[in-house]
Structures are given as structure tokens and as C-alpha cells.
Amino acid sequence: MEIIVYGIVNSVSLALMALGFTLVYGISRLPNFAHGAFYILAGYLAWVGIRSLNMGYIVSVLLTIFVVGILGMAMYRFFLIRVRGMPISEIIASYAMGLFILEALRWKGLKGMTFTLPVIYPGTIFLFDVPVDYQRLLVVAIGAGIVAGLWLFTKFTRLGLALRGIAQDEQAAMMLGIDSDAMATVATGLGSALAAVAAIVLLPLGNIVVEAGYQVLIFAVAVCIVGGLGSWAGAILASFIIGFAQILTVSYMQSHFQVVVALLAIILTLIAKPSGLFGRQKQLEERV
């Protein structure tokens, strides 16, 4: 029972970390390797808002999500747009950006155990005799809420539909008046904002440390590769596979194997089915 409850919590956490990454890749074919950096940056900004500027929890959190979203947009508009279409350069450029943010934070003194975000609602309840704190339940609720929200957004709003169009066939969407660069800007903004949301609900469970930024990136990449790059359904399924595998290793082996599981998942996927569970790299070209 414990494994099931914590497996679900862990899986949803992974999905939250990965959604922003997979969204940007799915829409614009841009691997945003600064994703983990935005995650930690969001945690740090929220911490500054709450602890140093005393702005109150709600204001700090909303402001953080907004600011990180804008930063994501700016990163595309002024930086990544120049290497768009060159995959290797996209990775190097965005990773450099991420390194810059993370190491600048470390230089500014973000290290050790002093930086923590408050939980939204303290306390613990028993679910099927397993103790779960409210924050972890909140992670599941917000994860489900975000998935539902994204689904509604891409189904019923003009902007969401346009993003779906660009994601499926960029040029066909351009023919209908949808601008690819504008949509990529929106997508990176949305992806970064999602990283911020993930940080705000997940970071209270631990400390805000620079290393977590790299770890989040590894998890996000693992989830996306296993699920099939750019596929949302695949990403969610992959989160559950990797999430449960991690909890199983924690219960039966040791807890520091978590990252190993993620990396192993990447390797196994690349050997067995390189396009991932829901990959669609090839299938489109074959239809005539």
C-alpha cells in the first residue's frame, strides 16, 4: 500500500517536472535544457519574495510564476531564436543559459540547507494506513489540475488550438496564419511557468539547492525520452513507469538509486524503442 500511495505521489511529481519540458519540445521541437534552472530560479525567487521581501505567500508565488514565464519568453525571443533549427546548438545554447542561471545562484550564496519554501497546508493524514502529508496530496491535485487545464486550453481556446496546430505540422499551421516564432515564444513562456509551478509545489518537500536543478533536468529528459519526445500522453505514462520504478528501488534497495533509475530508463528505451512509447518521429512521413 505504501508503495502504491508514494508511487503515485512520486509519479505525479515527475510528471510536474517534465510537463513544461515536453510541452516546449512538443510544440516547437526545442529541447529547453534550461528547464531545471528555471525550476530552481522559481524556488529562489519565491523564497526571496516570502522571506526577504515579506510579500506574503500568494503574491510571491503568483509573481514568481509570472516572472519566470516572462524570462522563458525572453530567453527564446532574444537568444534561442538565433539558433532555431539547429538541434545541437539549441541544446548547447539552452544548457549554457541554464548553467549560467544555476551557477550564478550558487555564487550568490544559494547553498546548504537554509533555503526552504513553506508548505501550503501543514499536517499529515492517513490514507489506507499510510501517513501522507497534505503537501504531497496537493502535489497530486495540482498535477491533475494542470493536466486537465492544459487539455481544456488546447481544446477550447484560440491560442491553445494554434499551439496544437504548430505542434503537429508547423508549415501547415503557418499557411493558416499562425506565426511559428510567436508560438514558440508562448510555448517557452508556458513551459517555464510550468517549471515554476512545479517548483512551488515540490520544493517545500526538500531544500532549494542548485544540484536539484540538474536532477530535475535529468528527470524531465528521462520522462520525455521514455514517453516519446513531444508526446504528452507518453510523458504522463512514462512518469508513472519511472516513478514507480524509483519507489520500488527506494523500498527494496537504497534511496540514492533514484537518478540511476532515470538514466537506466533512458538507456533501455534507446536500445529497445528509440522513438519512445508514443513516439511519432516516423509515422507521419509514411502516410500519403
Binding site: L161, R164, A173, M175, L176, S180, R287, V288
Partner: protein
Amino acid sequence: MLQVRRLMVFYENMLAINNVDLEVPPERIVGVFGSNSAGKSTLMYTLSGIILDMRRKEEMAGGERITVAGEILYRGEHIENLGPSERARMGIVLCPERRRIFPESSVLDNLKIGAFLATKEQARSTLEFVFSLFPKLREIRRRPGGFLSGGEQQMLAIGRALMAQPRLLLLDEPLMGLSPLIQFMLMEAVKQIRQERRISILITEQYARPVLPVVDEGYVLEHGSVVLRGTGQELLENPDVTSAYFGV
């Protein structure tokens, strides 16, 4: 409506479009006929601006050098340097070769994505028009685009392009791979579109027989050059056209 003067397009050193002059008057249907690799699709990509995106991507990937020269005037304005989405905003909408339906979105969502540039009111009335033009689409509106037959996909592609409120509709090989019955039905639909939406339409096609009776004017393209130009009737009676493009 649209005037093309001395248009040249190169892929590296290969000449795809050679000194083409072409004109689409308001509310007219103009056909461009030619065999495989005559330059029909290149012409369409150049008119819709997609070629600029192709050029940028090739440049980024270090691939083929694409060069475009000549003048394209739309309602008297130069549009050579405008990107595809800007041209679509001005009313030039391409319904591409091979249809390029969004395969994971339902028929209705495909049409809604097409309505990106339309106001709510325009979107609603155009959707009604598309469903009256192709009643079949209403029946299958919940089915994913990837599961449609070729004919259904073509109807959807035309409908989707109409949702973008074109004033000049570019149809690139709309009849490719379809049965004569559906070809006939689509050409009837094209006539109806011109009549009710009062727009100009440019059609390219390999197989001229179903298209010629519908066009006001036609061009024959060979190796990127215009070799013949005439009204639909003139082309119908021209023995060269008959032997080359009617498949008799």
C-alpha cells in the same frame, strides 16, 4: 488581385521556376497545369511564402541554397519579403499538396485551428458554409484527421483553408489520388466557393480534364516555364494540351 512578374526560383543551381509571369484577377479561377516536377508546388510555396521558411531552415541546417527573384504583387503591394503567416493575414491561404491535415486533432478541431485569423462571427458562419459545402464533414466531425480517407482529407483541407478567410485561395493538387466521382464533386465545390465567397482561386493540377471546364484561365508549366497560356476553352481545344495532360 495577384500579379507575378519574372519569377525565378533556384534550388542551388537547379532552376525550378523560370521567368514566370502570371496573373490572377479578382473573383477568377486560374489553373496551372504541368507534369511532375514542372514547378507547380514550388510556385505555390513561393506565392504563399512558405519558401521563405524552407529557405531559412535549409540555411540553418546548412543544406540547399534557395534563391527567389522577381516580383509578387498582391492587390498592388509587394509581398516578396513577407512571411507565410503575414501573407495569410492578408488573405493568401494555401491548401497544400498532400493536404497536410493535423492527424491527431479531430475534424472539428482541424477546422477550428484553421479559424485562427477569423473573428468568432466569421468562424461560425464559415463553419456552417463548410458543412453545407461538404455535408460529409459534419458526420465525421469527431474523427481524428489521421483516420480520414483521401477524399475526406481533401474536403477537410479545403474547409480548413476557408476557415482562415482567404481572399486568394491557393489549391495545390487538390485532386491527387482521388476517384473521378470525388474529383468532380470537389470541382463543383470550387465553383460554389468562388460564387458564394467571391474570392479568387488558383489551382494547380497534373491531370487537367476535370479542372479545365471550371477555370477562367489556364497556364501550362513545363520545366518551370510557362509554355502556354489561354482561357479554359482555348486550352480544352488545344491538341498539345489534350495529348499531354488528358491522358488519352
